[in-house]
């Protein structure tokens, strides 16, 4: 406060506020509003603008209105730059800074553990909550535990995989979030043996129940269990795991696997949860963090365990994506996007600076007259700045408008993210975005008016008053601008081309299995309809039926779907060493035929591999090479199981399969093992079908077929393997799309800049051209003279851009799927593309130069 309002006056106001604060206790919000009111008064135009500055602005508006073409060009350039920036900013804002939509979100802390995915186990959470939120030592008004999970949700006959949060019963109390209908969870919902209950999101309620109140009390099915809907979350609340949008909340303890784990008093490590706490009134963040850490250390001393978490607990205000994994993926993308759009804005600013410069040339005389009449240099600079500010204000207004449109367009046209329930851009212009745009606009106004303003302020009076042509210096400055623009936009273009090439290249990579003519349907065969035995029988019948259907070449079952997700198991070569994780899948005999994955040694799974017979598995090349280098893996024994306390199971390697890509096309070779479904039962399987015709056309028949087998069978998404593969490339596709858009925009802006410079030089040299023509120069000579100038500038820019790109693309190496960062094709195509655009941008003014009538040109002076 004291810094904002200086001097004695600040003292007095601070005193007043202090006095009132004491008596009424207005709260921080009140205080800051009052402080802002002082600032607002100070900054209001009446106080701030000395009459002559107001006059400046007034004059600027008049000048700009008299030149609508110039004004519009400048504003549109700026608006494009500001628009894309605010769009990207919104996205980044949502990922990193947007606070949770709950009351007093600045008191809501996400409690993490440094270096680890989850905070602690559910039991440790209970212990923690008991100690730090107890009425005695009130650090927190409460802690809540949550975990976000993809959930297979069945509502009235339709099955879908959605995101849900499994939470502790105090979830809504701590967030201070009332239900919009019905209720949230109560402590008794957590008791063993209680009826499972669920709360739906506003969106889920709208989509699945048409906002009907009868939804409350309805039963929905999650995995194997039925839940009764007891409430609807308030509109707009999407859970505490942005950028994922939750559709449903259930008590953590209601999940069957959690129930099982919690029933075992010896289990202290699972299930794992994330923790959020609300600070009690008067508790500082650092105090709470220190206290939490000491309580945590205490708990770990009291309940020692083998696989101890080592990180310290950390506290952070919940804002944006709370999960470290999401932030990790989002950070580099955000930095890249912000720098790219920053460059676009820079190019736009340079354009406007160029425009102002050319106007300054036209107005040299006016400026000279004003100076001759006694105007100070500062006065002239201020005049130019005023024009800049008016332009920037228009640019910001238009830009926000553009930004909104661009965001909508982007949200619709961007390739979808592969993650279930990922909110892609919930694009509302918020105040942070508006401030961002205003700051960007102001910064650019200063940027683009600075050099013309200085230029204006020191006209060479004598020659300007005589109305003579421009000096050489200013032209050189404009040339530098164009070169910088070309270089920057070429760099963006090269990066975009590289990413597009990488994407095409990745699509052509050999995944190690056959993708064409294959589709996969995800089904769920579970209790209570099916037991393990009846489930296996059903799946066998299902396979027979599908294989016999017309148009089907082969069919198989697998737990995972290639290139979407994979499971993992712990393995060790002897029963007493520490187990290591390896990716895994559960498949049926014939899987390797349908997927066309060759078995290099040994055999496939056979129908004789049954629960009673010796456990078998098949490993991939990488697994064999890492575990048994230079040995024959066939017949080797592996121990399976992650828990060091429980006995592990043993299985024998009967085959080695060729390496394939499992989760994404760009992954490094990884260890992988296959187990037979008969020996390790899962009911959540993909039916993979090889068709003779186009696989997508088999979607409807397959669905009908599955429905005929069991009309209640839960069938989730049915997609071709090629769709899965292309989804796994989302990251590069996303970046390629965005960069192509921004690179194109940058090129367009730079081309406008180039055009402006060439056109300006033609205008300046009209007399010279007239003289040349009068002296007998050919019109094509003139054409070439002008073209050469434009192309010469472009060539220098391209040279600089190539050098710049060579430095920049190296940073992208990890995204290029093996394409060289110096890929000559990308560099060549982008440069040639720019050259073509430059031709066009210079040809238009060059033609005009060619048509100069020497008589008119000479008389004009």
């Amino acid at each position: 406060m004291r810094r904002l309002v200086p001097g004695r006056e600040g003292e007095i106001i601070a005193g007043d506020l202090r006095e009132e604060f004491e008596t009424r206790g207005g709260g921080r919000f009140w205080y800051w509003r009052e402080v802002l009111s002082c600032l607002a008064v100070r900054l209001s135009p009446h106080r701030l603008t000395a009459p002559d500055l107001r006059q400046d602005l007034h004059y600027a508006v008049r000048v700009l209105r008299r030149n609508p073409g110039y004004t519009l060009t400048a504003m549109v350039c700026l608006a494009l730059g500001i628009g894309v920036n605010s769009t990207v900013f919104t996205m980044v804002d949502e990922l990193f800074w947007e606070p949770l939509q709950v009351p007093q979100s600045d008191r809501v802390m996400v409690i993490g553990r440094s270096g680890e995915e989850s905070t602690c186990s559910y039991r440790d959470y209970q212990e923690l909550e008991r100690r730090v939120a107890a009425p005695g030592g009130r650090l927190f008004s409460g802690l809540l535990a949550y975990d976000n999970v993809p959930i297979s949700l069945d509502v009235e006959g339709t099955s879908q995989i959605v995101m849900g949060e499994a939470v502790s019963a105090n979830f809504a109390d701590i967030l201070q979030l009332p239900a919009q209908a019905g209720r949230w969870f109560r402590p008794e919902d957590e008791q063993p043996g209680s009826d499972p209950v669920a709360v739906l999101s506003d969106g889920a309620w709208t989509r699945r129940f048409g906002r009907s109140m009868s939804a409350i009390g309805k039963r929905v099915r999650i995995e194997t269990q039925w839940y009764r809907v007891v409430g609807i979350a308030p509109p707009g609340f999407l859970g505490v795991s942005p950028p994922h949008a939750m559709e449903i909340w259930i008590p953590l303890t209601s999940q069957p696997y959690a129930k099982e784990l919690l029933a075992n008093p010896g289990e202290r490590e699972r299930p794992r949860v994330l923790v959020i706490g609300r600070l009690a009134d008067g508790t500082g963040m650092r105090t709470a963090e220190a206290a939490l850490q000491s309580v945590d250390a205490q708990i770990r001393r009291e309940f020692p365990r083998d696989t101890a978490s080592t990180g310290a607990l950390t506290l952070a205000v919940t804002a944006g994506a709370s999960m470290p994994a999401v932030r990790e993926v989002a950070t580099p993308i955000s930095i890249m996007l912000l720098s790219v759009t920053g460059i676009v804005l820079l190019i736009a600013c340079v354009n406007v600076a160029n425009l102002l410069l050319s106007r300054s040339a036209v107005r040299r005389r006016e400026m000279a007259v004003r100076q001759a009449l006694g105007a100070s240099r500062w006065r002239l600079v201020r005049q130019t700045l005023a024009e800049g500010i008016v332009l920037a204000a228009g640019g910001v207004a238009l830009g926000l408008f553009f930004g909104l449109g661009a965001s909508r367009l982007l949200a619709r046209s961007l390739p979808a993210l592969p993650h279930v329930g990922m909110v892609v851009l919930d694009l509302n212009v918020n105040w942070r975005e508006a401030i961002f745009a205003a700051v960007a606009g102001l910064a650019s106004a200063v940027l683009f008016t600075l050099s013309p303003a200085i230029e204006h302020s020191r006209p060479d009076l004598t020659s300007s008053l005589k109305g003579e042509g421009a000096g050489g210096r200013r032209l050189r400055q404009r040339d530098v601008y164009v070169i910088v623009q070309v270089a920057l936009s070429l760099t963006l273009l090269i990066v975009a081309t590289l990413l597009v090439r990488a994407m095409q290249h990745a699509q052509g990579l050999d995944p190690g299995f056959a993708m064409d003519h294959r589709l996969a349907a995800r089904i769920y065969v579970s209790e209570p309809e099916y037991t393990e035995e009846s489930g296996k029988l059903f799946l066998a019948r299902l396979l027979d039926t599908v294989r016999a259907a017309p148009g089907v070449r082969s069919a198989t079952l697998s737990y995972t779907t290639p290139l979407s997700f994979s499971d993992s198991v712990c393995t060790s070569t002897t029963p007493d060493v520490r187990p290591r994780r390896a990716s895994s899948d559960v498949v049926v005999p014939g899987y390797f035929d349908t997927m066309a994955i060759p078995i290099l040694h040994g055999r496939q799974f056979a129908p004789t591999d049954q629960p009673g017979s010796p456990p078998v598995l098949i490993v991939n090349q990488t697994f064999a090479a890492r575990n048994w280098p230079n040995e024959d893996p066939l017949g080797k024994t592996l121990w399976l199981g992650c828990d060091t306390k429980e006995p592990r199971t043993m299985a024998q390697v009967v085959g080695v399969a060729r390496d394939a890509k499992y989760e994404s096309l760009d992954e490094a070779p990884r260890k992988f093992i296959y187990r037979p479904l008969a020996q390790s039962w899962v009911g959540f399987v993909a039916v993979i079908v090889e068709t003779s015709g186009a696989p997508a056309e088999f979607t409807a028949p397959l669905r009908a077929l599955l429905h005929r087998l069991d009309s209640d069978l839960r069938v989730y998404e049915i997609e071709t393997l090629e769709q899965y593969a292309s989804q796994s490339l989302w990251k590069v596709r996303w970046q390629a799309t965005l960069l192509a858009v921004f690179g194109g925009l940058a090129m367009l802006l730079a081309a406008v800049g180039l055009y402006g410079v060439v056109a300006y030089s033609v205008a300046q040299r009209t007399r010279e051209i007239g003289v040349r023509l009068a002296m007998g120069a050919q019109r094509t000579d003139v054409l070439w003279m002008v073209l050469a100038r434009g192309l010469g500038l472009t060539a220098v820019g391209i040279g600089a851009g190539l050098v710049l790109s060579a430095g920049v693309t190296r940073l992208l190496a990890t995204l290029l799927y093996g394409i060289s960062p110096l890929d000559p094709v990308a560099f060549g195509v982008a440069s040639l593309g720019w050259m073509a655009v430059a031709m066009l941008a210079s040809y238009v003014p060059a033609r005009r130069a060619m048509k100069v009538d020497p008589v008119v040109a000479l008389r004009w002076e």
Partner: protein, 105 residues
Amino acid sequence: MSDQYLGEFEQLVLLAVVRLSDGAYGVPIRREIEKRTDRKVTVGALYSTLDRLEAKGYVSSWFADPTAERGGRSRRYFRIEPLGTEALALAKDMFDRMWKGVRLA
């Protein structure tokens, strides 16, 4: 006449200063206006108006000794000047003349 014209908010502030006589400084002035007119007054608006009134010579101000309840900061007291009284009277006359004979519905 025209340069003696008082804005509505200026009148409210002046009247509050008159009403409070010796006790007129920031906090009570604000409270007086808020209490009687039922409208919110921000600190910024209040002081910019008081400064304006002082510049016109309608009020004068002085600084009192610092007090502990204000965190060791002093108060700025205001007092109405003859010019201010005159302006207030003129404003009241003006309104009285306008209201004369007016009957609302």
